[in-house]
């Protein structure tokens, strides 16, 4: 369970560029929650992820994952429990390392003695099984450098790397936005499957409003560093994209402006 209590973050404090990206945000994520997050540009969606993953330290508030305080830990110490995927497929893998080496990095952070061989024969079968689930043929190219893979293949591999060590939370920051539609759909299907199978609490930022309402079990909307809408259950089932737009303008007194926002149903 993830709990955010009154989290506030202001960038460039005391300068003309002072900008409060998160304003007293509180949010509780249950273990079976798959939350989709919507919001206009600069609403604080990615900042929310940064606060949880530890890209920066928050000014105020508490972040608890399964009762353990995260707010004081550096990024790499949180990463053991928090898997993160970004929009850029290049960000999550090391291009000059092979597929099996990348997987070994993700797998062995906690359990391997530092001077033990990184890639061991006994792991290969496991890697191969995991990769074959993607049906991308990656399992036959374990010794290939990751830089030679396509964006979709790299993102699928990143997804596997982020989830292979059983994180307690998965953060997806528009992780299919840079892929072509067919590949995006495939990676999305794999994502849903992994999240369901492993029962990982997940938060996903998306600019596709239709997808936001159909994926997962709960949708929140952010604006100006605050959560302005949090819907689940029947309320969410009856929600449509036009209704969502109306709700937004009603709550904020302005039009939703995300230059990449897709209004598909």
């Amino acid at each position: 369970m993830l709990e955010l209590r009154h989290v506030t973050k202001t960038f460039a404090k005391g300068t003309v560029n002072e900008h409060t990206a998160l304003r007293d945000v509180s949010l509780t994520l249950q273990d079976d929650d798959f939350i989709t997050i919507l919001g206009s540009n600069g609403a604080g969606k990615s900042t929310l992820f940064g606060a949880i993953a530890g890209t920066f330290y928050v000014d105020e508030g508490e972040i608890l994952l399964d009762g353990k305080h995260l707010e004081g830990l550096p990024e790499h110490k949180r990463a053991r429990a928090v898997g993160t995927l970004f929009q850029d497929p290049m960000k999550g893998t090391a291009p000059d390392l092979t597929i099996e080496e990348n997987l070994s990095l993700a797998c062995n952070q906690t359990r391997r003695f530092p001077l033990a061989m990184a890639v061991q024969k006994k792991d290969l079968q496991f890697y191969r099984e995991q990769l074959s689930a993607f049906q991308m043929g990656l399992e036959d190219r374990m010794k290939m450098k990751v830089g030679l893979l396509s964006g979709g293949q790299r993102q699928a591999l990143t997804l596997l790397m982020a989830t292979i060590a059983h994180p307690k939370l998965l953060l997806l920051d528009e992780h299919t936005a840079a892929l072509d539609p067919a590949t995006a759909e495939k990676v999305m299907a794999i994502t849903v499957q992994i999240v369901r199978e492993q029962k990982i609490p997940t938060m996903m930022i998306t600019h596709n409003m239709g997808q936001a309402l159909t994926t997962g079990n709960r949708t929140i909307m952010m604006d100006a560093g605050q959560i302005i809408l949090d819907i689940a259950g029947d309320e969410r089932k009856e929600m449509t994209v036009p209704k969502l737009m109306t709700l937004y303008s009603g709550a904020r007194g302005k039009e939703l402006d995300n230059d990449r926002m897709l209004l598909s149903q």
Binding site: H76, K91, G92, A94, L97, L105, T110, L115, A116, A118
Partner: protein, 314 residues
């Protein structure tokens, strides 16, 4: 090219191979130009010389490696803990090391290795002494030269094997990943800063070991021994890559050794043919490295001109 010249190139090439592997680690694996090299090489020279004079030549090599590793860690900590620009961090360490190196040598600018070096020890083991070769001065010299060659080869291969192993271990892989995609490592559970420090420690340990063995071979240590060694290391790495190509870490380390030997032989050839006087060496090395590093850009520009030309003709 005479045999002795070739032998000399081979010997020094194998000693400098340790330096080339160190430079390969910082320059190619960690992806940072590390100027500590010049200081840590001399630190290796100083530590090894002083301990040899004190009667511990083998310990001298070991401590040279450790001292170099410590110097590399300082640069790494300056980069990661206090956020100093990588090049400036290296310059600061190198500059500071000048004082340390002089202090290690007891405040003197040079030390003559009067006591037994590892080489003298091995001459004894192989029973190479003047009496046995009394009648044949040339055979005596040859036996000595070959001993030096064997020491260089054994040391280079030993360090090569250790480095190949190290970069295949889990921690070695973490270092490679840090140099390859730092953004990824930062958002993973690997401590990117720690990996950089460790990588620079290993790199400068190898560099200092090169200085340590070189000074025992030459029997003389001066504070200016390290001047220009970074370019020597870079040239070796680049020449090796030009021959073998840029592939993985294992191949890269081997090609650094080949490049180092080839570079030393080429330099001897060039100076013996009187193409240029010996003092031109540093300029020539710098130009070689600059051209090699500029090649990708030059190729790209040529390609663009070709495309442009093609269009205008069409």
């Amino acid at each position: 090219m005479s045999l002795t010249m070739f032998l000399g190139g081979l010997q020094e090439g194998l000693f400098y191979a340790l330096l080339a592997m160190g430079v390969f680690i910082s320059f190619r694996i960690l992806n940072t130009p590390d100027l500590t090299t010049e200081g840590s090489y001399t630190l290796g020279v100083a530590v090894s010389a002083v301990l040899t004079v004190a009667g511990h030549p083998v310990l001298g090599l070991l401590c040279a490696f450790l001292a170099g590793a410590a110097a590399g860690s300082v640069t790494g900590l300056l980069q990661t803990k206090v956020g100093i620009h990588p090049i400036l961090a290296g310059i600061l360490t190198m500059s500071g090391l000048y004082t340390i190196n002089t202090a290690v040598m007891g405040g003197k600018p040079d030390v003559t290795l009067t006591k037994t070096t590892i080489f003298n020890k091995l001459y004894e083991v192989f029973n190479i002494n003047l009496q046995a070769f009394n009648r044949d001065r040339q055979a005596f010299t040859m036996a000595k030269e070959i001993t030096v060659l064997i020491v260089g080869a054994v040391l280079a291969l030993l360090v090569l094997a250790l480095l190949i192993w190290f970069f295949r271990t889990h921690i070695g892989l973490c270092i490679r990943a840090t140099g390859n995609n730092e953004a990824m490592v930062r958002s993973s559970s690997i401590n990117a800063g720690g990996m950089k420090v460790l990588g620079l420690a290993v790199a400068n340990g190898c560099t200092a070991l090169a200085g340590g063995v070189m000074t025992q071979s030459g029997g003389f240590a001066t504070i200016s021994n390290g001047a220009g060694v970074l370019v020597v290391g870079l040239a070796s790495v680049i020449i090796g890559e030009a021959i073998v190509g840029r592939r993985g870490v294992t191949v890269g380390l081997i090609s650094a050794i080949l490049g180092s030997v080839l570079y030393q032989c080429l330099i001897r050839l060039a100076t013996s043919l009187n193409i240029f006087p010996a003092y031109y060496l540093k300029l020539v090395s710098a130009v070689i490295v600059a051209i090699a590093l500029a090649l990708p850009m030059i190729r790209e520009n040529l390609g663009r001109h070709h495309r442009k030309g093609g269009k205008s003709h069409a």
